[in-house]
Amino acid sequence: MPARRLPAFRSLRARVIVWVSVTLTVLFAITIVGLDLAFRRSTDEAQRQLLEVQLFGLIALAETDEADELTLPNDEIDAQFQVPGSGLYGVLLDADGRPVWQSRSLLGASFPVGESLPGPGEQRYSRVDPPDLPPVETFMMAVTWEFADGHAAPYTFGIASSLEPLMTRQAAFRRNLIGWFAGITIAMLALIGSLLGWVLRPLRRLERQVREVDAGERVALTGEFPSELEPLAASLNALIDTERRRLVRYRNTLDDLAHSLKTPLAVMRTLLSELAAKEADAPSATALDALNREIDRMEQRVSYQLRRARVSGATGLGVEPVQVAPVLEDLRLGLDKVYRDKGVACELAVAPGTVFQGDPGDLTEVLGNLVDNAYKYCRHRVRVTASSGGGKLSIVVADDGRGIEPDDVTKLLERGTRADESVPGHGIGLAVVRDIVELYGGTLAIERSVLGGAAVLVEFTRARAAGQGGAVPPPSSRA
């Protein structure tokens, strides 16, 4: 199919325009040829009839002269025969083909007889392009003239009319014809173009809405669509809904899984600690310690993998942009409670209208881990700044703690490392943040904050469709 190859045919509008143009051109070409032919025939016919009338006019005027020869009286015949170069010429030939009379309009030129004279009683039309005259149409008639004295002699009457006026008329007709049809074609294409605009408008609206859904600016396709598109819109909405439900179901399953894996771990751990309290002797205490460490490791793995798996990491169809400020405020409210004894002063500087294009759970996870770490490792101050614009969301979480060792920063941000195992303390939280940022195709960097401690810089970019599962670009860390 050429439709696959030519990019022009990927547009419905182009398809219709091309189809209509080609069809109209062919159709109109046939019409033009047909009409032109018909017009030419009828004008040719009219011309011949005129020639005939004029020839019979000449025959009617023919008379015998003193030399008993047939001739035509110049002062009685039509004025057109008298004016040189008028385009109407007459001739009277004797049996030998010698002109006994020719019209003054010929002005010395010879009458374009053509190849041969018509036989007795014959009439002949022909078109001739003589060297000394413009192209003409001739009509010749051989007659046998009976004189008054009773003898008869063969003569040939000939008449020629210039083809120029005829051809001019026919060319003008053709030009008019082509002009009109070209006009009609253009008008029709314009009409079809506007018709297409009208017909395709709902399709464009649909396309725009789908794009908005994908960009997270819209939750579902809304408004009325033409009956042909209604099923498509409904299916798309159903798909969006299914996708959202699927995500919810998936997360619920993960939650259940977390619950069902961690509760037994919790049971084991509390039982172990009960045992440890009872068994004071050294060998079992060592064994219990070892068991406890294994539980710790299992717990870390389970926790990390489940949290990783829960990251939606993408648009997810039909997700609205998330306001960043309320998420941070709730987080501060909660963490202020948890770290009440520490008396942390947490300052939020969120530019108005700062939004995150993605899943609210992912945003809360990123901010939760970063701000919790900041509360945990700060002395007394935490500052979170966030702003979005130009399809970018930048978040900086800074504290006045000891900061993160450059070696640890490198380890934490190194691609492919198991961050959950690389740095204890910041470990899991930052590892999860790194995973989420990676999935969104964003960047993560750790620097020293102006407050004195660590500053974690996260940047999400909107254009992430191709960034799915992408890498964290090299951080601009001072480490």
């Binding site: 961690k262 919790a266 509390t270 709730d330």
Partner: protein, 230 residues
């Protein structure tokens, strides 16, 4: 100190309760949200430990209801879900802290201890009222720097009184906080222990740390903080 533990896993619940009891707390165990709500309404509780993934009434609903009914004791969330959205929601609805399963018992005890202190208006783990210093972590009590030798019950009684320093505590309140529910409430055991504690804290009768308010109960009378009295 009376704790409410709402946890649907029976083994975990029993084991946690045993260890909390060993640490000196009275523990009421509820196996689901509805039972938890019943206990939360009916009993005088100092702190609730609530699992979020409960059958019946969810943990989140339970916390919401408890707070809506005006109960202000601290709530510690115990959860297998370590999603920040869940944590933030629980904290927003009225929980005071959270621990993620599988929890270390020591960590749980530390959190419980901290929450109880805070609820009593204490910011530090050491409670200081004039010459009396009680360290909730080491459970060491000193008066004017002299270390006291207290029994487990005496310690818990003193801790309870000091946590609520300045407040009037009825005998019933004290016995509910320190004994299992099946204990006979109006016995004079409390009186006996108060008497012993007074002798140990203030053998010379110079501080009078514990006031008796006739028909109303007791009050730890020494002002909080050391500066005022030192």
């Amino acid at each position: 100190m009376r704790l409410l533990l709402v946890e649907d896993d029976q083994t975990l619940s029993r084991s946690l309760a045993a260890q909390l009891q060993r640490a000196g707390y009275q523990v009421d165990c509820a196996a689901d949200g509805r039972e938890g709500l019943y206990f939360a309404r009916e009993y005088s509780i100092d702190l609730a430990i609530i699992d979020l993934g409960l059958p019946g009434l969810s943990g989140v609903e339970l916390i919401k209801t408890i707070r809506a009914e005006g109960k202000s004791y601290p709530i510690l969330v115990l959860t297998a879900r370590d999603r920040w959205q869940d944590k933030v929601e629980a904290l927003k609805l009225g929980a005071d802290d959270y621990v993620v399963k599988p929890v270390h018992v020591e960590e749980l005890l530390a959190r419980v201890d901290a929450l109880l202190r805070r609820a009593g208006g204490w910011a530090q783990s050491e409670l200081v009222c004039g010459p009396v210093r009680l360290d909730t972590r080491t459970q060491i009590v000193t008066v004017d720097g002299r270390k006291l030798d207290l029994t487990s019950f005496e310690y818990r009684l003193l801790e309870y009184l000091m946590l609520h320093a300045g407040e009037v505590l009825s005998k019933a309140q004290i016995s509910e906080a320190l004994y299992n529910e099946d204990f006979e409430r109006d016995s004079n055991v409390i009186e006996v222990f108060i008497g012993r504690l007074r002798r140990k804290l203030d053998p010379n009768g110079e501080y009078k740390p514990i006031e008796t308010l006739r028909g109303r109960g007791y009050r730890f009378a020494l002002p909080r903080g050391s500066a005022a009295n030192a």
